[in-house]
């Protein structure tokens, strides 16, 4: 099930919201009627909420892949028990052992389900043998929830959080449907308090609703229409150099709006249910260098690798050669995290090279804004061409065609038609990827009189967006999120 679908918007989500608030309220009433004290009532209500979240999240996950529901449940139980074991362990060595177990199990899950066939393919290529492929379907969201689980056991080992003794609460954290399948990667420390004690208010719900609807519109209206253009490009019988650049820019915008939209919806839903998830994007296409780009793009992943790989390896407080290794490891793994294919690994290593260059040539971080922005976007756009290719051969071909080495005309009639058709969408997406809209809205909200108009217009705009998005969905567009394959 995807967020941008009729079953989710008009069946699943209303059902979970109704059950979440209504049943927990009724439980609270029952406990009050039974004259239980406030703390007991609070705990009972919270338990009910977490249970409903857990059950619906398992339904959400099993809806797409029933067989892997057992994997999800098994992961919840396994990490829950590891957490208890770490907490109970008397010695540091024993704690380390259990953390090690949880990390090995997590990485083994990824190795088997995500990377096994990649290893087999390369092994066969190197050795000439024909080891059979496992051909296992990739469990949706495995890269996200395994990383979330590892963050729990590692932070528990480090003493950054308390153990979660309630398996329902823990299961709700691991499987929470708002961020289960495409992030942000929510660390246990960030939601621990809310799992055990959270409040709701209409203010939070209204803010969450706004964030969700805006995210929905970004996904359906912007990202999915760009995806259509990308498909048209791939099916085109009249490619041209310009069409290749249109594709590259379209995909760069598509992946941003698709992914950030999902994060918006996850954060919005989190607010409705009483959680505050971390931001995942901060207008990355406004960056003036690659270092800045990765402080703004998929921040939850960057921070995860920083805190659980880079810093434990020594970070930048080491000699240059060691720093080089640390950085290489992080970006190699970042590339691999995105997919079991060499083009993803090379994409990660592209950023490694840029970061090393920026370290060796500090002036690169101090370029004039226009130059810095151009350099960054060029790296990003070309990187995403590599990222989106099905294999290295296609990546090479795409990049060659972009620079005129594909024996293609500069322009074609199809290119002109689709440039005309998608021109406004490109403009909207480019403007939307900057902070211009947000800053303008904030400035308007600060002006007396105008802020009232904005407050009145806001629900009207949200209703229009909701109705338009519903129209797109009913029209039969199928729009899976790009990051599902991770």
């Amino acid at each position: 099930m995807v967020f941008s679908s009729i079953p989710f918007l008009y069946y699943f989500l209303p059902a979970v919201v109704i059950c979440y608030f209504l049943i927990s309220y009724l439980v609270g009433l029952v406990f009050k009627a039974l004259n239980r004290d406030k703390e007991q009532t609070r705990k009972a209500t919270l338990f009910t909420k977490n249970l409903i979240l857990l059950l619906f999240s398992l339904l959400f996950y099993g809806w797409g892949e029933p067989i892997y529901l057992f994997l999800m449940i098994g992961s919840i139980v396994m990490f829950y028990l590891c957490g208890l074991a770490i907490d109970k362990a008397q010695t540091q060595k024993a704690k380390k052992l259990w953390v090690g177990v949880s990390v090995v199990v997590s990485l083994s899950l990824l190795a088997v389900f995500k990377y096994a066939d990649f290893f087999v393919e390369n092994f066969n290529a190197l050795t000439g043998l024909s080891v059979p492929f496992l051909k296992l379907a990739l469990p949706v969201g495995i890269s996200f929830y395994t990383f979330q689980c590892m963050s729990y056991t590692i932070d528990l080992y480090r003493g950054n959080c308390q153990v979660q003794r309630n398996i329902v609460s823990f299961g709700a954290y691991v499987s929470m449907f708002p961020q289960l399948i495409a992030g942000p990667i929510v660390r246990y420390v960030d939601v621990a308090k809310a799992l055990d004690n959270r409040t709701h208010s209409w203010d939070r719900v209204s803010l969450g609703l706004r964030r969700f609807v805006v995210g929905l519109a970004k996904k359906i209206i912007l990202a999915d229409n760009l995806a259509l253009m990308i498909q048209i490009f791939r099916d085109s019988a009249e490619p041209s150099v310009l069409f290749y650049w249109m594709y590259a820019i379209a995909f760069t915008l598509n992946i941003y709006f698709d992914f950030s939209a999902y994060s918006d919806m996850a954060i919005g839903l989190g607010k409705v249910f009483g959680f505050d998830f971390i931001e995942n994007f901060n207008h990355p296409y406004m960056s003036k260098n690659v270092s800045e780009f990765w402080r703004r793009w998929h921040m939850s992943l960057s921070f995860w690798f920083r805190d659980y790989v880079y810093i434990p390896l020594g970070g930048n407080r080491v000699k240059f050669a060691r720093w080089l290794f640390n950085t290489f490891a992080v970006w190699f793994l970042t590339g691999m995290w995105h997919g079991a294919s060499w083009n993803f690994i090379l994409w990660g290593l592209l950023y490694f090279c840029c970061l090393v260059l920026e370290k060796l040539v500090p002036a690169m971080k101090k370029l004039p804004a226009v130059l810095g922005h151009t350099y960054t976007m060029l790296v990003v756009v070309l990187g995403f061409v590599l990222f989106n290719a099905t294999d290295l051969a296609q990546a090479g071909s795409d990049l060659a065609c972009m620079f005129g080495f594909g024996n293609l005309p500069l322009i074609s009639s199809q290119t002109i038609y689709y440039l005309q058709s998608y021109a406004l969408l490109f403009v909207l997406c480019i403007v939307g990827s900057t902070s211009l809209v947000k800053n303008t809205a904030n400035r308007l909200c600060e002006r007396r009189g105008v802020n009232t108009v904005v407050a009145v217009l806001e629900p009207i705009i949200l209703i229009i967006l909701l109705l338009v998005c519903t129209g797109y969905l009913v029209d039969g567009s199928f729009s899976p999120f790009l990051y599902f394959r991770f």
């Binding site: 009729i6 009639s413 629900p459 129209g471 009913v474």
Partner: protein, 393 residues
């Protein structure tokens, strides 16, 4: 103050969401989509037949362990919720209007509307499909037509996009390539060029087909090439079919378009003809006259008044023909509205659509249909859109 306005605004958004949810959960199911001409998936145990005998039923897989584990139930549920969403056609209109007017897209689902005419863009010329079709035509010629010594003609019908695309800046297939392939690989046929007989205004606003009442010049050109009597406009009476005509693009475009009027060209000769075909159950049906007025009620597509619709083999017996000649027409749906205008010189006309006669075709049982002699004529009438999409095989 603004905080309260925001809260009230959020409440309004939630109310609308709840209203749509309630309508989705508790609203009654629609059996059929007029705009899309198809049955809609209904909740199991609540089958409500659409009443159209010529459209297929959609089945629900049911909730079982198997359908859950292989996710067919989930997929069916998702299809059901999308197809039965309340005010579905209105929401599709909202999307189409937004797509065209807000996003300034030039087409919606490859359908565009200019000057009130909806057309489908064909951006890709499927030469493989066309080659397969031409090979089939050549096989037909070798097996049946070659030894008969009769005259063979082709009349390729340009689709609406042929005229609209260059004038309004839309994409189209490579018509020149298509026509040159046809001419090159059917050297045994005389090709009748129809491109100068038509404009886009000779087609329906919301349908791919051409208007029969505008086809006299086309019929005259074909008749002249075949050495027949030229039909005149005055030979016919223009009759309005008293039912709204929702063309095939009406649903695809999803724009606010009105249904249109469909006219047929009739006269005593056509009324005296007998039309014979086998329906989908294999039963032989005979009708008096070439227009099946019963289709106004029984068919999802009003265009089916022309010779009752899509059947593999249709024969027309004309007791008032001026000669004993027979005409064999290999055709798609465009041929159904054209053929009545060519009838007057033929005692019998046999229309063959291989797409709907696959079993006969595959079994090689086409031969008995043909009783050709050198006086008879064979005409291939195919539209460029069909040749580029379905083909005939």
């Amino acid at each position: 103050m603004n905080k309260y306005i925001r809260w009230i605004g959020a409440a309004v958004v939630v109310l609308i969401w709840v209203a749509l949810t309630g309508a989705a959960w508790f609203g009654s199911d629609e059996a059929y989509s007029i705009s899309e001409r198809r049955d809609l998936l209904q909740w199991p145990g609540d089958p409500n037949p659409s009443g159209y005998s010529d459209v297929s039923k959609k089945d629900w897989p049911g909730l079982t362990t198997e359908t859950v584990m292989d996710t067919t139930f989930m997929q069916a549920f998702e299809d059901y919720t999308t197809e039965q969403f309340p005010l579905r056609d209105k929401f599709r209109q909202v999307k189409a209007l937004f797509h065209y007017n807000a996003l300034m897209q030039k087409d919606n689902n490859n359908i565009y509307v200019v000057d009130g005419y909806a057309a489908q863009m064909d951006t890709f010329t499927d030469t493989d499909k066309l080659t397969a079709t031409l090979m089939t035509f050549n096989r037909l010629y070798d097996q049946i037509l070659k030894d008969a010594g009769c005259d063979i003609y082709t009349a390729i019908v340009p689709d609406k996009n042929y005229y609209l695309a260059p004038e309004y800046g839309y994409l189209s297939m490579d018509y020149e390539l298509m026509l040159s392939m046809i001419h090159g690989r059917m050297p045994w046929a005389q090709h009748i060029d129809l491109t100068d007989c038509l404009t886009y205004k000779d087609y329906y606003f919301t349908d791919t087909h051409w208007r029969q009442e505008h086809l006299i010049p086309v019929a005259q050109k074909i008749a002249a090439a075949m050495g027949n009597t030229l039909p005149q406009e005055s030979d016919f009476t223009k009759e309005l079919i008293d039912a709204p005509f929702y063309g095939v693009h009406y649903g695809h475009a999803a724009l606010p378009m009105d249904p249109e009027q469909l006219f047929v060209m009739n006269n005593d000769l056509l009324k005296a003809c007998t039309v014979t075909y086998q329906d989908r159950t294999g039963k032989t049906v005979q009708l008096q006259g070439v227009y099946d007025y019963g289709r106004m009620v029984s068919s999802a597509d009003l265009y089916d008044v022309f010779l009752s619709g899509e059947f593999g083999v249709i024969t027309i017996d004309n007791p008032n023909a001026t000669t004993d000649k027979e005409l064999y027409v290999f055709r798609d749906s465009f041929g159904r509205s054209l053929t009545p205008l060519l009838l007057q010189d033929y005692r019998k006309v046999t229309l063959i659509d291989p797409r709907w006669a696959r079993t006969i075709w595959a079994a090689g049982e086409m031969n008995p249909l043909f009783n050709l002699d050198s006086n008879d004529d064979v005409l291939f009438v195919y539209s460029t859109s069909v040749l580029n999409s379905d083909g005939i095989v």
